[in-house]
């Protein structure tokens, strides 16, 4: 694929993610996964899960993190030099931000008209519960043979699920799961 076509495809994908990514955070995951894993194959499902993990342990929203990461790896993965890959990162990060920027500018300018607008509230009445479903689908789509390699994966899942429910810090849980992974899976 020509570099310019790749840049264009990245731009369009992340613009779409920015425009339709309602609910922020995990609610954007099914859309990001569909674009970068299923449709374009820029990342494997394992890479994608790893980005989610890296996002938990690094600053910033997951949409930016995946945009920056995908922009770099997609271009570098096609054999282009790091300079072009950095440009890919910048394109993805900008394009995922543009819809937010424009829409929030409109929101700020017409704040008082939108605040109690019944049509606005009506548009959100079904969307809000739907966003919960999108987050659930993110979890379901990641419960696959790539991320759950054996019964030990399910034990880690169950322990972290309960701990997270009890409000244990997610970064701590990721670090502990990583240590557990090392002892359970490293071929000593």
């Amino acid at each position: 694929m020509e570099l310019i076509d790749l840049y264009l495809a990245l731009f369009l994908s992340f613009f779409k993610i920015g425009l339709f990514g309602f609910g922020g955070g995990y609610a954007m995951l099914p859309l990001i996964q569909r674009e970068v894993v299923n449709l374009h194959g820029w990342l494997s499902i394992n890479d994608f899960t790893d980005i989610v993990a890296i996002s938990q342990a690094t600053p910033g929203p997951i949409a930016f993190n995946s945009a920056t990461y995908v922009g770099y790896t997609a271009v570098a993965g096609m054999g282009y030099s790091p300079g072009y890959a950095v440009l890919g990162s910048a394109i993805c990060t900008l394009s995922v931000s543009i819809p937010s920027f424009i829409l929030m500018t409109i929101v700020t300018v017409s704040f008082f008209r939108l605040k109690n607008n019944p049509w606005m509230r009506a548009s959100l009445s079904v969307l809000k519960p739907a966003i919960i479903g999108l987050i659930a689908s993110a979890a379901l789509m990641l419960m696959n043979g790539h991320n759950f390699v054996d019964y030990k994966s399910w034990i880690i899942f169950a322990v972290v699920f309960v701990a997270s429910f009890k409000k244990v810090d997610p970064i701590l849980l990721i670090v502990l799961a990583g240590i557990a992974g090392f002892f359970l899976y490293y071929p000593f």
Binding site: G18, L19, F22, G24, G25, L29, T49, D50, V52, A53, Q56, T58, P59, G60, P61, I62, A63, F64, T68, Y72, T73, A85, S89, S97, P99, L103, M104, T105, V107, T108, K115, W119, A122, S123, L124, V126, L127, P129, A130, I132, G133, I135, A136, S137, A138, L140, N147, F148, V149, F157, A158, V160, F161, S164, F165, L173, I174, A177, G178, Y185
Partner: protein, 190 residues
Amino acid sequence: MSGIKHCWELFLLFFKIGAFTFGGGYAMIPIIRTEVVHKKGWLIDDEFMDMLALAQSMPGPIALNTAVFVGRKRMGFKGSLSTAAGIILPSFIVILLIAMVFTQFKDNPVVESVFKGIRPAVVALIAAPLLGLGKSAGVKRSTLWIPVAVALSVWLLKVSPVIIVLVAILLGILHFVYLKRITGKRDGTD
């Protein structure tokens, strides 16, 4: 001159928030609130909460939406550019460095085993808050079918989330129009 100073102040504040808030956009909200409402006094708390409700109704990362609102409100277009750049740059720099390094260590057996442990944990971290989120989104027994139908259609039928969003907005509006027609009331969001 003071305009540039204000923009620089906005940029620095959101850069700081972007750099030191781990765990995604939602973790940033209380910190933005403390800085913008309590420390700087740029917005009153009511304004901030109303803004948050709107920022959450718009697509895109909530931290960015909030940043754009605060910047725009304070210094117009230049202000929103400053806050957006501030909130975006820290994660851009960090993830770029990780992408450059991580891609070379991915197949290292130590890294591979560590991530085998982390992957199921990530899925648990996504799944665990669902109940609480459902409650705060106002999901009741009568509306429980909505998230269930969405989750199943995206997961099993591979329906695009774009379609889900468009259909959900359309259904919300149709429901509203229907209620308005049968009751004549203006408020029919429930």
